[in-house]
């Protein structure tokens, strides 16, 4: 994905601000990246390079951390983030079925974002709500007992007005909307 000049500038500006506040040395690297991701939604290449420069370490060291830890994303997330719990309890009662259903409905694989950047899908290892299994977390909100039918319901809820009818065949939600604006192609 290529970034526009404007986006790039914005990223560097945010990075500069965060570095000013928290960039005390290589030990601060993880908290720094966490703050960056919180602000930008992901870790863009230019931001990581700037961090490396500022801490006077090779850029590959920053990249190493960003790819070692599960929390960090290298691509922008969707507007709505769907996390399907794959804890033991959820797995036993159909976590994989829930994940399958999200994949089928959104027409993406786990770890991906829909082309319109509306939804991104990932699996997480246990959010600790095992008695409500299978569980999914959508934008921080926990959804319990997620069956394929519930998956349709959840997606309809978050699609807003893009989809009028409540039928269970809402394939590829909102493909036609929100394409321009954020994306820098």
């Amino acid at each position: 994905m290529e970034l526009t000049c404007q986006e790039q500038e914005q990223i560097l500006e945010e990075t500069r601000k965060i570095l000013e506040e928290h960039g005390d040395g290589p030990e601060q690297l993880i908290p720094l990246l966490q703050k960056l991701q919180e602000k930008l939604g992901y870790l863009p290449g230019p931001a990581m390079e700037r961090v490396a420069q500022s801490l006077d370490i090779p850029a590959v060291d920053v990249y190493e951390l960003a790819t070692f830890y599960n929390q960090f994303r290298l691509h922008p997330p969707g507007e709505h983030q769907v996390q399907v719990c794959m804890g033991t309890a959820c797995y036993m009662v159909g976590g994989e079925i829930a994940l399958d259903s999200f994949q089928r409905r959104l027409d993406i694989n786990e770890g991906e974002t829909t082309p319109d950047r509306k939804f991104s899908l990932e699996r997480v290892a246990c959010v600790g709500c095992c008695s409500l299994a299978p569980v999914a977390v959508v934008d921080g909100q926990i959804e319990k007992h997620v069956t394929p039918t519930r998956v349709d319901g959840i997606l309809l809820e978050y699609q807003g007005n893009n989809c009028g009818s409540a039928s269970s065949t809402g394939h590829q939600p909102g493909r036609d909307s929100g394409k321009e604006g954020k994306e820098g192609e």
Binding site: P31, Q34, Q71, G87, T88, V127, C130, K144, P148
Partner: protein
């Protein structure tokens, strides 16, 4: 009276004065599990109703009582009544409770779960079978106090142990912990006293204490619940440990997936600082200790002590060879004391009541209690705290109230990805740090998943292996590649493409991975495979030799079929439930499944009304032809 005691007495008086004694208090359980079940809505409904009727009542938050199966939970303490617990509360029940109980005098006993104090009308928690077995040393106050209110904790003797210890010699704290024979609750069971002493006796510029709250085992949430429900207990334990080993700085390493726990600990730290219980010159004694939170960035391997410390230093979490132990050379090269959340949480109790009190519970070699996250196919899922040495059968059938739907227990998975699957025959084993070894499992930090006849052991082994393969840090070849090969083999088996020699190969690889890995992630990763191979070999055989999954869980080995003789022509429940429109109505009115379209999501089987029970799973899938011919 000495300095700390005097200061503490002042705090306690303040705490007692802040308690609205004659007011009705409503505690809503708002730990993560409660919130997921709708506790926030319940809390708002109470506030709204109380305001509407201008009642003299206060709504407060509380943590988790461990009864996850009946969240949201509410405790109502009305003067003149014993505090009463209500389970499965929704907005309708809130209205009813406010109208009948808060405004009137009818406690709606038909909805009451238990009372919290002995009374003549309703049984207390201790009088239920579960309450008889459970012994709450650690979780006693969880769900009873407001985690956002330090006064709630102080009122219940909170920080008393710290105040008393600060007036005395740090050695005394250490001695008490050694006497109590407290063993680390992170899973390994190493005696905390020895670790503490080692750390204390290593001379250095600075000592550190770190609380390991990187609870990564899927299916385990003991630490999260404790941090969310009673943060001050853990903080007090950390401070006592810091005092004992001579540390002035400490860290909570909490995984980022636990935002609420992080928020609550941060808030509790702020409160403690404001009350002079944390920071410079604690309670006027000259002892200073700073505690702060470090957010883990999500790597299972960081639960391993050396990896955790590396990640705090801003590096990838790769485990290191030991020795040197962390107690000699840990964080920033300084002696570091690292214990699990539960280990620290036991400390205030031990110091307050004495080592003897701690040792009256549990067994001689394993004193105290163990906290389990009891999940899976069990009626009363939740957190349970039982004395060490309690057997699995008691835990599952008396505390957890058995398996739902009158199904048979097949296996118990204990210890998460490092543990094993034990069969029914192992249920009488006592659970402690030493006894499960022989059976091939470990007690671990407390995750316990109950499985019934619908759960496929090969799929379960595959699930854990997939987890460890992904979480392997990649440092040791055997862990990195061995788990990958094992996963490939076992995946093939679940697809019905297994070969006769696969089982032997799996066994060999498992043993190699155990031997060739540096840290416990790799050393224990093969456990789920080894135990299932040992106890459930026939299931592996069925997959390999017949292409059949006995539990009907492996997708590639099953097919769904609607039995014509049971299907009602008048019902279309299954048709509507199918997400891929694979179910159609035949010319004769009966329903049938288009196997090409079917994604095996189980929806139709659940949707088919019980009186028909027409949808069945067939394994191996070629059985379909026989059924279709009939």
């Amino acid at each position: 009276m000495t300095t700390a005691q005097t200061a503490y007495t002042g705090l306690k008086e303040q705490a007692i004065a802040s308690y609205p004694g004659d007011k009705t208090l409503i505690h809503v359980g708002t730990a993560s599990c409660g919130l997921a079940a709708g506790a926030r809505e319940v809390e708002q409904a109470f506030s709204r109703e109380i305001k509407k009727r201008s009642l003299d009542a206060e709504v407060k938050e509380a943590g988790c009582m461990g009864f996850c199966y009946t969240e949201p939970l509410v405790v109502i303490a009305k003067p003149g009544f014993a505090p009463l617990v209500y389970g499965g509360v929704d907005e309708g029940l809130v209205e009813r409770l406010v109208q009948d109980f808060l405004s009137g005098d009818d406690p709606c006993y038909e909805y009451t779960l238990a009372a919290l104090e002995p009374n003549d009308v309703f049984p207390t928690l201790e009088e239920f079978p579960r309450g008889v077995i459970e012994q709450k040393l650690l979780l006693k106050n969880c769900g009873m106090i407001d985690p956002l209110d330090i006064n709630d904790y102080i009122r219940r003797e909170g920080y008393a142990a710290l105040a008393r210890s600060l007036d005395g010699d740090p050695e005394k704290v250490l001695e008490e912990i050694k006497q109590a024979y407290l063993r680390g609750r992170g899973g390994a069971g190493f005696p905390a006293g020895i670790k503490w002493e080692h750390c204390r006796n290593t001379p250095a510029e600075e000592h550190y204490v770190i609380c390991n709250a990187d609870e990564g085992d899927p299916g385990a949430f003991m630490d999260r619940s404790l941090l969310e429900s009673n943060p001050h207990l853990v903080i007090e334990g950390m401070l006592l440990a810091a005092y004992a080993v001579g540390a002035n700085r400490g860290y909570f390493y909490i995984r980022a997936e636990y935002p609420l726990a992080i928020e609550r600990i941060n808030y509790a730290l702020l409160q403690a600082r404001n009350q002079g219980l944390l920071g410079e010159n604690i309670l006027g004694t000259g002892f200073s200790c700073q505690l702060e939170v470090f957010e883990g960035a999500g790597a299972f391997v960081c639960g391993e002590a050396t990896a955790l410390v590396r990640s705090m230093e801003g590096k990838p979490g790769l485990p290191q060879t030991r020795p040197p132990r962390l107690a000699e050379c840990g964080f920033r090269g300084q002696p570091t004391l690292l214990n699990n959340v539960k280990t620290f949480a036991f400390v205030p109790g031990i110091i307050h009541h004495g080592a003897g009190w701690f040792k009256t519970t549990g067994t001689e070699e394993n004193p105290g209690t163990a906290v389990f996250a009891l999940v899976g196919k069990v009626n009363q899922a939740g957190l349970a705290e039982v004395p060490m040495g309690t057997d699995l059968r008691t835990l599952i059938f008396d505390v957890g109230e058995g398996i739902p739907g009158n199904k048979e227990l097949k296996a118990v998975q204990i210890g998460g990805p490092s543990g094993g699957c034990l069969p029914e025959s192992a249920l009488d084993l006592p659970i402690d740090f030493d006894s499960l070894d022989e059976a091939g499992a470990i007690m671990g930090s407390g995750g316990l998943v109950v499985m019934d006849e619908d759960d496929c052991m090969v799929a379960v082994a595959r699930y854990f292996l997939e987890f460890t393969r992904q979480e392997s840090c990649g440092k040791c070849t055997f862990c990195r590649l061995g788990t990958k090969h094992m996963l490939d083999i076992i995946t093939r088996i679940t697809r019905g493409e297994g070969l006769p020699e696969d089982l032997e190969k799996l066994q060999e690889l498992a043993e190699d991975v155990q031997m060739g890995s540096l840290c416990n992630l790799g050393k224990t990763a093969p456990n789920p495979v080894l135990t299932t191979l040992r106890y459930f070999r026939e299931e592996y055989r069925a997959h390999i030799e017949e292409g059949r999954c006995p539990s009907g869980m492996c997708k590639d080995l099953i097919a769904y079929f609607i039995l014509p003789e049971r299907c009602s022509k008048l019902c279309s429940a299954c048709v509507g439930s199918c997400p891929t429109e694979a179910i159609y109505t035949r010319d004769d009115g009966l329903k049938a499944i288009d196997q090409e379209k079917c994604v095996k999501c189980d929806n139709c089987m659940k949707a088919c009304p019980e009186e028909y029970h027409a949808v069945v799973k067939l394994s191996p899938p070629h059985k379909l032809k026989e059924y279709e011919r009939m």
